[in-house]
């Protein structure tokens, strides 16, 4: 028996449906104009079109393990029977980590959790809420069938079939999907799936991986990026210029799989209240504003400098040279004023004006039940919704002017 297993679309949705009775199964879901990770019911999954579950989400799946808002501490107080003017207060942690299958994310999404693990699990203090959800979650990742607008995972040491951070990885091939367990957790999940052995599909899988990797824009070497971005710190003109258009909306940070920042606030009263954790954004001026009115990062250029430096210089300085960016490109395609972190990093390193042109965006060929001819990565008939109108298809090399 090889370590590869084959499932047809029906078998896949059937399996997910079975998993959903007993576990929370989260997968991409179209909601209005966006695609977001949401929990599905067993019934929904049984009837689902598999291609709908494989869409690339606009926001990252980070919320499966680090919810946008959660209660860290619930507190209650009661009058002291001996002195009615006094209260006794009790605190508790209401966190329940639901067993979860996170299905259909991409390799960059899975690597995002590896980036978050370092501050959340590997420092002096361990975040028990994150740890519990991380433990309870199995990550089932799809190898990217095509390259999307903004993708640059190959700049940051990854590729469209990277297994890092995933428990299971699967690849679309003719007529279905080939699954491979990456971790013991993944093996355990697949054990009950009843999928057929797929030793004969190894070549098709390798070919699919190679095709996707091929389609990526040429990697940037980012030589000495950590030092060079750090050296830009005092180059105010550079950051001012790069940030002129920024609206400080924070979108780039909220959709990012690696952004770790949060705030803590209280709600309710001492009698019955909660201490909440909510995502926060370093792109807003209030983030570092002190009560005195003093703000170490008063301008949007200061804040962009911090965001880019954190990802490519400060974080690597702290964690053995690893970047805090997985190259998913979400911030690139979702920024309302088209600010591009690739541009900023490269310009910081190379110190010149650069123009980026993305590879043509191809929708993945829908996977159908019956074997179909291999889809070619033809220019999209049906452009991905996030494709900005101004982007011209090109050979996808980053060019210097």
């Amino acid at each position: 028996m090889s370590n590869l297993l084959f499932a047809t679309p029906k078998e896949l949705t059937g399996w997910l449906s079975k998993l959903a009775s007993g576990k929370r199964v989260m997968a991409p879901r179209q909601e209005g104009p966006s695609v977001v990770f949401r929990a599905y019911t067993a019934k929904e999954l049984a009837a689902a079109d598999v291609n709908a579950l494989l869409k690339r989400s606009y926001s990252s799946p980070k919320q499966a393990i680090l919810p946008q808002c959660e209660t860290l501490v619930a507190f209650k107080s009661a009058k002291d029977p001996e002195d009615m003017s006094k209260l006794t207060t009790t605190v508790e942690n209401p966190c329940v980590a639901e067993p979860t299958v996170l299905f259909g994310g991409r390799p960059c999404d899975a690597r995002g959790f590896v980036v978050l693990d370092r501050p959340y699990l590997e420092g002096k203090f361990k975040d028990p809420y994150y740890a519990a959800r991380r433990e309870a979650t199995v990550i089932v990742t799809q190898a990217c069938p095509t390259v999307l607008n903004g993708c640059f995972c190959n700049w940051v040491g990854s590729d469209p079939a990277d297994k890092e951070g995933s428990d299971v990885i699967f690849t679309a091939v003719d007529g279905g999907f080939v699954f491979e367990a990456v971790t013991e957790k993944g093996e355990a999940l697949l054990a009950g799936a009843g999928f057929a052995d797929a030793a004969d599909k190894a070549e098709a899988v390798a070919a699919a991986h190679a095709a996707a990797a091929e389609a990526l824009p040429a990697p940037s070497t980012l030589d000495h990026v950590q030092e060079k971005v750090a050296a830009r710190f005092t180059d105010n003109a550079f950051w001012d210029k790069e940030t002129v258009k920024c609206l400080s909306c924070g979108c780039c940070t909220f959709i990012c799989p690696t952004c770790q920042c949060f705030t803590i606030t209280d709600e309710g009263s001492q009698l019955d209240g909660r201490r909440l954790r909510s995502w926060d954004s370093c792109m807003t001026p209030l983030f570092t504003m002190e009560t005195s009115g003093h703000n170490p990062r008063p301008t949007k250029a200061n804040r962009m400098r911090n965001r880019v430096s954190h990802k490519f210089s400060f974080y690597p300085e702290r964690y053995d040279g690893y970047f805090s960016c997985v190259g998913c490109g979400r911030c690139v395609v979702s920024c309302p004023v088209s600010l591009d972190i690739r541009h900023m990093v490269k310009a910081a390193v190379e110190g010149c004006d650069l123009v980026f042109e993305d590879a043509p965006v191809a929708e993945p060929a829908p996977v159908v039940e019956a074997p179909a001819p291999v889809a070619e990565a033809a220019p999209a008939q049906n452009p991905a919704p996030q494709k900005p109108a101004s982007q011209k298809p090109s050979k996808g090399k980053s060019k210097k002017k």
Binding site: D83, V91, P119
Partner: protein
């Protein structure tokens, strides 16, 4: 809970419920709170180092960062001195003995007092910056024989703004500490100095030989006092200070308090000026 890689599994976000034992009005804007954990076991096993901070909270209002300014040898209470500024500090100022607060501590690093043995130390505190100085100074005074000459220069805007009034007589009369008090301006009776900290410091003219300078206070005071110390010949590696950044988690995760690749809550708040010189200039 000073080391958290110990695998003890303690939840670093969970506050200890504590009771306010005493509230001391220090100045029109500063009150000191003496608190003790309700859980006896947690209280008895609690240890910390001078300079470490805590997140003190009013349930339903929020948490804020304050240095523990009682010395570790004090086993009866933890003292926090709080300047009224915004929401949490205003709520704290309304508390009375018997009220409950939350405490997450100890957080952050501490003053490297082991490295100072055998050296002269001059402590300089400005305004609420006297709070971190109080802890380390009291600690060092308890072990005065292990150190050289100990001096304190404490400044406030007016005599009324000077906190720790209950401590001042013992500091002024101490055999092991030479205390100088100064105010920016004095109305009425004031037997001590009048003048800004940096100029009084230059008058005191402490020798930089085999000496450590510890200074805490508002940014503007730090700036000019630092310049004065350098003028006196103190080397940056012998000038120690504490930084302030807006904080939330206090444990190096929420990303809020970074200065370059360092988190003030985890790698600080205590830094030498030499260390600060190597961090990005973002104050």
């Amino acid at each position: 809970m000073s080391e958290h890689d110990c695998g003890c599994g303690k939840n670093p976000y969970m506050p200890e419920v504590a009771t306010v034992l005493d509230v001391i009005t220090e100045s029109p804007t500063i009150k000191s709170f003496r608190v003790r954990f309700d859980n006896e076991e947690a209280w008895n096993s609690f240890t910390y180092q001078p300079g470490q901070v805590g997140q003190l909270s009013v349930f339903g209002v929020g948490e804020s960062t304050f240095v523990i300014n009682s010395q570790p040898s004090c086993k009866d209470y933890l003292q926090f001195s709080v300047m009224r500024a915004g929401e949490v500090t205003t709520a704290l100022h309304k508390l009375h003995p018997g009220d409950k607060v939350g405490v997450r501590a100890p957080l952050g690093n501490w003053f490297p007092y082991e490295d100072w043995k055998g050296k002269d130390i001059i402590f300089v505190g400005g305004g609420i910056g006297m709070a971190p100085i109080r802890t380390i100074m009291l600690h060092v005074m308890e072990h005065a024989s292990e150190y050289g000459k100990l001096r304190l220069l404490y400044g406030a805007r007016t005599p009324e703004d000077m906190a720790f009034k209950g401590d001042l007589p013992s500091w002024l009369n101490s055999d092991v500490l030479e205390t100088t008090l100064t105010v920016d301006r004095a109305e009425g009776e004031w037997p001590h100095r009048v003048g800004m900290i940096p100029s009084v410091l230059k008058e005191l003219n402490p020798s930089p030989d085999n000496a450590i300078a510890v200074l805490c206070g508002p940014p503007i005071m730090i700036k000019f006092t630092l310049a004065a110390f350098r003028e006196l010949g103190f080397k940056d590696e012998n000038i120690v200070t504490t930084l302030e950044r807006r904080m939330k988690c206090g444990i190096g995760i929420c990303g809020r308090c970074n200065l370059g690749g360092k988190f003030v809550c985890l790698d600080g708040p205590v830094f030498t000026q030499a260390q600060l010189n190597n961090l990005p200039p973002e104050m």
